[in-house]
C-alpha cells in the first residue's frame, strides 16, 4: 500500500535536543529550594534490620531528615518494597536521607549505623530447591507474577536421579503440554538431550533511575526516568499513596531502559515520600551506577534441560523443556514462561511439554530485559538445533526453514493462532544477503590459530497489543496534535506511531504537533513502551483516534455545507465534498465549529469505554479544538509475532579465545517498516546487545558473601565499539501484518536474541560442533575447549565467571 508518511524517513522532534545536550533528563531538573536525598542499601544479601542509629548522621551539617520503611506504604510479598526492614539482596534500599546538599546526604548516609541480623541466603536456585536448602525469603522460595509465594522443595531422590551434571527435574510450579509427546519421541530419528545454563545480567541503562519530586496544592509532581508515560500512573500513584489524578508525571526523555523501566517502580516514589515529609519541598534522588546495578532489575538466568526429537529431515516432532528460573528475591518477571512460548513459535514442534519453576534468590532484583526469556532461549537452543543439523547431515538454514512458522503457525501451550508469520521469508532473504551457500563452505577454515565459523539463529517476541486509547486534536490554528501517552524510551516510536494519525487524516507532517512527556498535556492511556508492542499498538490507537476526528470533520462539513457526512473526504488541512471540491472547510474553521458545537466534537462528551486516564486527559483538553478520541476495537485474532533471524560469520582464535564477528546479516519479520531509519537502528542496536548476551555480560556473585562482581560498565563487560563489526547488513521482509491498519508489527526484542543465537552457533561451528550449553561463552571457555581441558565451572553452576 502506498502511504504518504508511513515507510518514509523523518527526523523525530526530540533528536535535536538529544544531540545538542538540551534534553532534560530527570537528573537535570531543578526547583527552588530543592534538596537531595540518597538511599542506604543493605550490605548483606538477607538480613533483618534490628536497629537504626542515626545520631551521628544528624550531626552532619545540612542534614534534614531520614525516611524509613515504616513511613512508606508496604505491599503484599513478594512485591518490590519501597524501603525495606528485611533486605533480601545487597544494595536493597533500607532508608533514605535528605540533606541540603548531596555531599551532606552521602556523608550522613555513611554515618548511619545499622544493627542487622543476618538471615540465611541463597544465590543458586538448585540449592534452594534441595530439601532443607536455604530460602531467599523467610516465607518461601518460589514466586513470580501470577505465581503465589510458596515453598517448593524437590526430593533428594530427584537430585540423585539426575546426577551432578544434569538438571534435576522435580515438581514444577507450572507446566503445559500439547500433542503426543511420548509417541513423537518414539517416532523421532534423532533425540538430543541437553542441560544448559544462561546467565542473568544487569540492564546497564546509560541513565540510572534518578527521580525528583515535590508537592503543590495536594498534587505530587514527579520527574522520573521511565520507558513509559501514562501506563505508569496507576502503579506509581499507588506507590506514593495518592489517587491517580493527584499525580503529575513528567518524563520527556529516558536514557535507556531495555525493559527495566517499562512499568512503575517502587524506588521512584522515594523522593515523593521524602518531599511529603518535608512539607512538599523539592527532593532530588540521584541513583549511582552501583545502586542502579542493584535496584535496576536484571535478566533472570536459567538452569534448563531440553529434550528434542527430530525427524530425519530435521522437522521437530517433540520438545520437552524444563526451566529453573533465577528470579531474584521478589516478584521478578516471567522469563521461564516465555522460554516455552518462544520455542513453540520459532520451531513449531508437533508436540511439546514445558515445565518451569521460578525460584527466589538473594541476588539483585529482576525484571524484564529485552526479549525476557525468549532471548535466553534463542541463545541456548540454537546451538542444539545446529548440533541436530550436523548429526542429521542437514543444512543449517534448511533445518530452521522446515520448522519455521508461517501464517498458519500456532503458539504456546494452548496452540493459539498468530496474526502473521514470515520467518521462512526472513530466512530466505537472510541466506541470500549473507550468501549462505558460499559462506558455509568457509566453515572450519583455519588460518594459523584462527578458525572460521558460520551461524544462523532466530528469535521471537510478541510484537503488539490492542484495546488501548488514542487521542488527537485539531486546534483552531489548523494544527493536528497527536496526544501520545506511550513514553519515550529512545526508540523514537512515539513519533513514528504518531505518523499513523497523520496518515489517516492525510495531514502534512509539518502540520503535526506531538503532545507527550507530561500528564498535563492530556495524554491517553496506552500500554507502556515495552514488549516490542509500541509500533503495533500505537499505530492502532492513533489510527482509530484519527478516524474519529475524520468522522467529526465530515459531520461538521455536512452540517455547514450540506449533504451527508459520507459525501466528504479529508485531506491535508481541509475537509471537502468529494463530488464538488469547491465545497470545503479548513481544519482551522472546523476546529472553531467543533468548539462552538461542543459535545462530542470538542471533547465535552466522550465514549464511555475509554480508560479513566484517557477520560481525564480528554476532559483536560475539551473545548480547545476538534477532538478525536477512541478505544482501539480493531479486529485482532491471535498473537502478533515479531520474528527475526540473523546470519553471522566469526573468526575464533583458539589460542586466545577471542571471537571476531566478520559478517552479520539480520532480517526482521516486522510487517511494514513505519520508519526505515529507526528500524535499521533498532535492529543494529539490538544486535549489538546480542553480542553482550552471547559473549560477556553476566551476573557474578560470590556465593559466600552474596556480593556482586559485575558492577559498572567495565565489570559488566558491555560490548564496546571495537567488539562489533564496523558494518552490519539489516533488512526486513516487508510483508504487512493485516491486523494492523498500516501493516506494522514490533521488532525491538528478538533482534538481540537472533544475534546472540547466530554468534553462539557460529562459535560452536568454528570449534567443530563443540557444545558449551552455556550463555555467555567467554574467552576462557573457548581457550579451555580448544586446549581440550575441562571447564572451570560445573555444568549447572550459576553466577559464575
Amino acid at each position: 500500500m502506498a502511504y504518504n508518511l508511513i515507510g518514509k524517513d523523518f527526523t523525530p522532534p526530540d533528536v535535536l535536543a538529544k544531540v545538542t545536550g538540551k534534553a532534560k533528563y530527570a537528573e537535570d531538573i531543578r526547583a527552588d529550594g530543592m534538596v537531595f536525598c540518597r538511599i542506604l542499601g543493605s550490605p548483606m544479601p538477607h538480613a533483618k534490620v534490628r536497629g537504626i542509629d542515626d545520631s551521628e548522621a544528624k550531626k552532619v551539617k545540612g542534614f534534614i531528615a531520614i525516611l524509613t520503611a515504616d513511613e512508606v506504604p508496604s505491599f503484599p510479598p513478594p512485591n518490590n518494597p519501597i524501603l525495606n526492614n528485611e533486605p533480601r539482596f545487597v544494595g536493597e534500599p533500607i532508608l533514605a536521607v535528605a540533606a541540603e546538599t548531596e555531599t551532606a546526604a552521602v556523608e550522613a548516609v555513611n554515618r548511619i549505623k545499622l544493627d542487622l541480623e543476618p538471615l540465611p541466603f541463597v544465590t543458586d536456585p538448585l540449592e534452594s530447591l534441595f530439601p532443607r536448602g536455604p530460602d531467599a525469603r523467610t516465607n518461601g522460595n518460589v514466586a513470580n507474577v501470577r505465581l503465589k509465594l510458596q515453598q517448593i522443595k524437590w526430593t533428594a531422590a530427584d537430585f540423585a536421579k539426575a546426577g551432578d551434571n544434569t538438571l534435576p527435574t522435580g515438581k514444577p510450579a507450572e507446566q503445559w503440554q500439547f500433542g503426543d509427546l511420548d509417541g513423537n519421541f518414539k517416532k523421532s530419528h534423532l533425540v538430543l538431550e541437553e542441560t544448559f545454563v544462561t546467565a542473568g545480567n544487569a540492564h546497564n541503562s546509560m541513565e540510572p533511575r534518578t527521580a525528583m519530586a515535590y508537592w503543590k496544592n495536594g498534587k505530587c509532581f514527579l520527574h522520573g526516568s521511565a520507558q513509559s508515560q501514562q501506563f505508569l500512573i496507576f502503579g506509581l500513584s499507588r506507590f506514593i499513596g495518592i489517587k491517580p489524578l493527584q499525580l503529575v508525571y513528567s518524563g520527556a526523555f529516558c536514557g535507556g531502559g531495555f525493559g527495566s523501566k517499562g512499568g512503575p517502580y517502587a524506588e521512584m516514589s522515594i523522593p515523593a515520600h521524602m518531599s511529603k515529609k518535608l512539607g512538599g519541598r523539592a527532593v532530588m534522588m540521584r541513583i549511582s551506577r552501583e545502586e542502579e546495578h542493584y535496584i535496576g532489575k536484571g535478566r533472570p538466568g536459567f538452569q534448563g534441560k531440553v529434550k528434542i526429537g527430530f525427524r530425519r529431515d530435521g522437522r521437530i516432532l517433540a520438545c520437552d523443556m524444563y526451566i529453573v528460573h533465577e528470579n531474584g528475591p521478589n516478584t521478578g518477571f516471567w522469563d521461564f514462561r516465555n522460554a516455552g512460548t518462544s520455542f513453540s513459535i520459532v520451531f513449531q514442534p508437533e508436540a511439546m511439554r514445558w515445565q518451569g519453576i521460578s525460584v527466589l534468590t538473594n541476588t539483585s532484583v529482576r525484571g524484564p530485559q529485552r526479549g525476557p526469556g525468549e532471548n535466553q532461549t534463542a541463545a541456548a537452543m540454537e546451538p542444539i538445533i545446529a548440533q541436530a543439523a550436523r548429526k542429521l547431515g542437514l543444512d543449517q538454514v534448511a533445518i530452521r526453514r522446515i520448522n519455521a512458522p508461517d501464517n498458519s503457525a500456532r503458539i504456546g501451550g494452548k496452540q493459539g493462532p498468530v496474526t502473521s508469520a514470515f520467518l521462512k521469508d526472513a530466512l530466505d532473504q537472510g541466506a541470500k544477503l549473507f550468501d549462505w551457500d558460499n559462506k558455509k563452505k568457509e566453515s572450519g577454515k583455519r588460518n594459523g590459530s584462527k578458525v572460521i565459523g558460520i551461524g544462523v539463529g532466530s528469535a521471537y517476541h510478541a510484537g503488539g497489543a490492542n484495546g488501548f486509547d488514542g487521542l488527537v486534536r485539531i486546534t483552531p490554528d489548523g494544527k493536528l496534535h497527536v496526544h501520545n501517552g506511550a513514553g519515550n524510551l529512545g526508540t523514537y516510536s512515539y513519533a513514528a506511531t504518531s505518523r499513523a494519525a497523520a496518515e489517516a487524516l492525510g495531514a502534512k507532517w509539518d502540520n503535526v504537533i506531538i503532545e507527550r512527556g507530561d500528564t498535563r498535556k492530556g495524554l491517553p492511556f496506552v500500554l507502556g513502551q515495552f514488549g516490542s508492542n509500541s509500533t503495533y499498538t500505537q499505530t492502532r490507537t492513533n489510527w482509530v483516534a484519527a478516524l474519529d476526528a475524520k468522522a467529526k470533520l465530515q459531520e461538521i462539513a455536512a452540517m455547514d455545507l450540506g449533504g451527508a457526512a459520507g459525501d466528504y473526504d479529508v485531506t491535508d488541512s481541509k475537509v471537502f465534498n468529494k463530488a464538488d471540491p469547491s465545497k470545503s472547510m479548513s481544519w482551522a474553521n472546523a476546529a472553531q465549529r467543533a468548539i462552538a458545537l461542543g459535545g462530542k466534537f470538542s471533547g465535552k462528551e466522550m465514549p464511555k469505554d475509554l480508560n479513566p486516564i484517557t477520560k481525564w486527559a480528554t476532559a483536560s483538553i475539551a473545548g480547545t479544538g476538534l477532538i478525536g478520541v477512541a478505544k482501539d476495537k480493531l479486529p485482532k485474532k491471535g498473537v502478533v509475532p515479531a520474528l527475526v533471524t540473523a546470519f553471522v560469520k566469526v573468526e575464533v582464535d583458539t589460542e586466545t579465545g577471542k571471537v571476531e564477528v566478520l559478517d552479520h546479516v539480520e532480517v526482521a519479520d516486522c510487517g511494514t517498516a513505519v520508519h526505515p531509519q529507526s528500524l535499521a537502528t533498532q535492529i543494529k542496536g539490538g544486535a549489538v546487545m546480542g553480542y553482550g548476551l552471547a559473549l560477556g555480560e553476566r551476573y557474578i556473585y560470590d556465593p559466600k558473601l552474596g556480593i556482586s562482581g559485575s558492577i559498572g560498565f567495565h565489570n559488566a563487560k558491555v560490548p564496546t565499539i571495537l567488539d562489533i563489526p564496523s558494518e552490519m547488513t539489516v533488512a526486513h521482509v516487508g510483508k504487512p501484518d493485516t491486523s494492523n491498519p498500516v501493516g506494522a508489527k514490533g521488532v525491538g526484542e528478538p533482534v538481540q536474541g537472533a544475534s546472540a543465537a547466530a554468534i553462539l552457533v557460529a562459535i560452536s561451528d568454528a570449534l567443530g560442533g563443540h557444545m558449551f550449553n552455556r550463555v555467555p561463552v567467554v574467552p576462557d571457555m573457548i581457550i579451555n575447549a580448544a586446549a581440550g581441558r575441562p571447564q572451570s565451572h560445573k555444568p549447572l553452576a550459576v553466577n559464575t565467571q
Binding site: R38, G41, R289, T656, D702, I711, N715, P790, S792
Partner: protein, 329 residues
Amino acid sequence: MLKDMMSSFDLQLPTNVADALKILKKAGKDGWVMGGGNDSLTWFKDRVKQPKTVVDLSGISALKGIRVTADGVEIGALTTLTEVVGNATIKSKFALLADAAGQVASPQIRNTGTIGGNVAQDTRCWYYRGGLPCYRAGGNTCFADTPSAMNREHTIFNADRCVAVSNSDIAPALVALDAKMVIQNSGGTAVVDAEKFFIGPAVDITRMTVLKSGDILTAIRIPNTWAGATFYFEKVADRNVWDFPLVNVAAAMKVAGGTIQDMRIVVGAVEAVPKRLRVVEDLVKGQKKGADVAKLAGKAASRGAKPLNFNHFKIPLIENLVTRAIRDA
C-alpha cells in the same frame, strides 16, 4: 556504604617536584599522589580511599615529556600514554612499549592516563576494589582466597594471603626492556630496576610497588640495551577496548641468523608482579626461533601455576601467549 560521591579533601597543585615532596612529607600517611587521576578518582568516587591531602602532579611540567638521553630515553612520569604511543623514538627503538601503551584501556583514558600512573596503579581485585577490609586494605583476611570465591582474574603464581594480580599493560613491557624507575622523596633520588619496582604481598601486602608514602615516581628511563630488538606484545582481554588483561605478554628478543641470541619475556596478570620468565629466557637462548622451541617455552612458562576457582584457563593462555611471543614475533 554508599558510594559514587567523593568525600572532601585538600587538593594541592604544586608546580615543582620539591614543593610536591614538601606537601607529601607534611601530609604523611594522609597524603595521596595523583597523576592522570584515572585510578585515583575511581578510588575517591567509590569512597574506598579517602585521603585528606591529594597532590595533583599535573601542574609539574618537569615531569612531562620524552627526552632522548645518551643511553636511551627518559620518559617523564606524567607523560600521557597517548604521547608514548605516538613518540617517534619510542616507536622506532622501543616499539614494545608503544604497543603496550596502545593497548591500555581506551583512547580517552590514554589521553589522560600517564605512564607513571599506569605502573603505580593499584590492583583490580574486585573484592578489594569493592571496599572489603582485606589484607591489602589493612585488614586481616582475604575475601578472595576462599573455596568458593570468584577468582577468574586472580593469580596463578605465588599467592601469599593476597591473590590479586598486577593489571598493568605497561609494566611487563618495562620489565622486558630493563627500564629504570626514578623515585624522589625528601631524602633524595633513587633509581630502581623495573623488575624490582613491582613487589608482591610477601614483601608488603598493602602495596603493589616499592613506592612508599612521600615518594614520587618522577621518570622512567629505558636504556638502549634492547633498542631495535625483535618485540612482541599481546594482551588478551574480554573486550577489545577499555579492559584489563586476562593475561598479557611482553617479549624482547635479539635474533641473528634465525637464532635467538638473548631474550627477556614477561607476562602480566598472572601474579602480583609482572612475572619475568627466566626459565623461558634460558631455554630459548641459542635456539633457532621457531614453532618447536616456542611450544616448549610455552609449556615451561606455566610450570608451577596453581590456579584458583575459574582461572584454570590462564594456564593454557600463558602457554599460548608465550608460544606466540616466540613463534610469531
